[in-house]
């Protein structure tokens, strides 16, 4: 097990956004979070690398363990975020060169050697399937890339600190179908080496790339299991309605 969650409750001030969430997330699998808007998918994903710490008034109870270690215990939060990388909904490259975007992470964690950095940059960009498109413009601003390229750059940036887990919050919702396809292929490739958790509103995407699926509703995990099973014969009526588009 990569992540073990038990009885996770989360409040934004008085509003309870997660209720008794328990689930086990296996290593080297792709887990998809699906559910209607506002049901707590982003909230849960941000709990896994403690990005919720940035939100004032956010309170969490229960246990989240990464490789058996309590995420909210004595763990150094910066090292946690090194191990659990994140890709955001909107591509957010830093307004600096492609190279510096990727090198930022390793530099943060103390790597200064130029040759070592060069290697990491090349490998990360390779792994994010964007090396060929940017190898001649490493020193140019990352803002000049297309939206799809920017998102793959952000994936490369997340890979640069060699995480175990990759959290992706609707990583393709801002992209065209071709870029989306590239990123889906990439995710399937990445799961060999990483554990991937992905939030998506796109049912086809979930069936195409995920091994496990969790269906959320109003802060609760209603159903969690093999993607094949959830999409072919969901046990819960509400889950079925959502998947078949009859929801709401």
């Amino acid at each position: 097990m990569k992540f073990v969650l038990s009885e996770v409750n989360l409040w934004y001030n008085d509003f309870q956004a997660l209720q008794n969430v328990s689930m086990d997330i296996k290593a080297n699998e792709v887990t998809a979070f699906i559910g209607p808007s506002g049901c707590g998918k982003s909230t849960l994903i941000k709990s896994l690398n403690r990005m919720n710490d940035l939100i004032e008034g956010c309170k969490i109870t229960g246990f989240i363990q990464l490789d058996g270690e309590d995420v909210y215990g004595s763990m150094d939060v910066n090292l946690l975020r090194k191990r659990v990388g994140m890709v955001f909904q909107k591509p957010n490259p830093f307004p600096m060169s492609v190279y510096d975007n990727i090198a930022f992470g390793p530099r943060t964690h103390g790597i200064k050697n130029k040759r070592e950095l060069d290697e990491i940059v090349e490998k990360s960009l390779h792994d994010a399937a964007i090396w060929d498109e940017v190898k001649d413009r490493l020193k140019k601003s990352a803002l000049g890339l297309s939206g799809g390229q920017q998102q793959r750059l952000c994936i490369a940036r997340a890979l640069s600190v060699s995480p175990d887990v990759l959290l992706m919050d609707e990583p393709t919702s801002a992209l065209d179908p071709i870029s989306t396809g590239k990123i889906e292929d990439l995710v399937m490739e990445l799961k060999k080496n990483y554990t991937v958790i992905i939030v998506t509103h796109n049912m086809q995407q979930a069936t195409r790339i995920s091994d496990k699926t969790a269906f959320f509703l109003l802060g609760e995990v209603i159903e969690f299991g093999d993607t094949d099973q959830i999409f072919s014969m969901p046990r819960d009526k509400r889950c079925e309605d959502y998947i078949t588009g009859r929801f709401g």
Binding site: M51, N78, Q89, K90, F94, P95, T108, R157, S173, A174
Partner: protein
């Protein structure tokens, strides 16, 4: 019905005329100042000779047999004290802006911000007084014996006072620009395991680069134009100085004008030369303002690009718009 709509039309036109006149007034004022400056100043410059005026090191307007009208010492004086103010004020200003924009607890911010606004509103004569009473004696105390100084009225004193005076300008503009950096960039850095400080210094600050530069440029404009406070602490010797002579007195373009305007003979070349000094100062400010607007334009383009991307990127906003 028709009557009232005609009356409405008249009123509308009247209002438009009022607004137009009001807008015109400021333009006319600037235009008149330009006309005055250049019509009175340029002849003096050509009379003295452009290179002699700008490059000349001898200022002796009252020497009737061999008058000298070189203002190089004052140009350099203005540049020195401004540079000094930037060296002292900008690092403090940028650190303060970073603190206020990204690190300051809300309770503290409620005190700092009004204090800063107050600081911006304090008249320069009061800064000058503060300099005379505190800074100048302190400088004399510290270096007077060692360097055989007559007083603490020095280039350094002027730089320190100006460094303080530009703080509100630098901090306010820099803070605004630091706040405008999208939160996603900060989060992107933190999500890679960067500490708060590292994310702020290495990602947020560089992202606000052009805006912070604009703050510095505006600070330069403020420093170079300051007169009263500088006059009160700078010593005002009309001598050519070198940059490292900061423990000696100095005279700037502005202070030279204000010191000599009082006794100058109207219509004389001396009078013209002072106005011409104003022309030079005006050109400096013109350059600074142009730089500022270029830096600001950069930033606006970038921001509109970002928001464009945000709009395209967020399906929710699209949906609500279509409905």
């Amino acid at each position: 019905m028709k009557q009232s709509s005609a009356a409405l039309k008249i009123r509308e036109n009247l209002m438009r005329a009022v607004f137009f006149t009001a807008a015109l007034a400021s333009i006319v004022a600037v235009a008149l100042i330009c006309v005055f400056l250049f019509s009175q100043g340029l002849p003096a410059i050509f009379n003295v000779g452009v290179s002699e005026f700008l490059g000349g090191t001898r200022w002796a307007p009252l020497n009737s047999s061999d008058p000298g009208f070189g203002i190089l010492a004052f140009i350099l004086g203005s540049i020195y004290v401004t540079a000094g103010a930037i060296i002292l004020g900008v690092p403090i200003g940028i650190f303060s802006a970073l603190f206020m924009a990204r690190m300051c607890p809300k309770g503290l911010y409620r005190f700092i911000k009004p204090a800063l606004n107050l600081m911006a509103g304090v008249p320069s004569v009061i800064y000058g007084f503060f300099g005379m009473v505190v800074i100048v004696p302190a400088i004399f105390e510290a270096f007077g014996k060692q360097f055989d100084m007559m007083s603490g009225n020095t280039m350094l004193a002027a730089s320190i006072i100006l460094g303080i005076m530009i703080l509100p300008t630098v901090i306010t503009i820099a803070e605004t620009n630091l706040r405008a950096v999208p939160q996603e960039l900060y989060e992107g850095a933190v999500a890679l395991g960067a500490s708060h400080e590292r994310a702020v210094f290495k990602v947020v600050l560089p992202s606000a680069r052009s805006g912070v530069m604009a703050a510095v440029v505006l600070g330069v404009g403020r420093a170079i134009g300051e007169t009263m406070a500088v006059q009160m602490v700078a010593g005002n010797q009309p001598a050519l100085r070198l940059p490292w002579e900061f423990l000696k007195g100095i005279r700037t373009m502005t202070t030279n004008i204000v010191i000599e305007m009082g006794y100058v003979e109207y219509g004389s070349l001396h009078n013209g030369a002072l106005i011409a000094t104003g022309v030079v100062l005006f050109v400096f400010i013109l350059i600074i303002n142009t730089l500022f607007s270029i830096l600001n334009r950069d930033k606006q383009e970038k921001r509109s690009l970002l928001s464009l991307r945000a709009k395209r990127g967020n399906p929710d906003t699209k949906l609500t718009k279509e409905q």
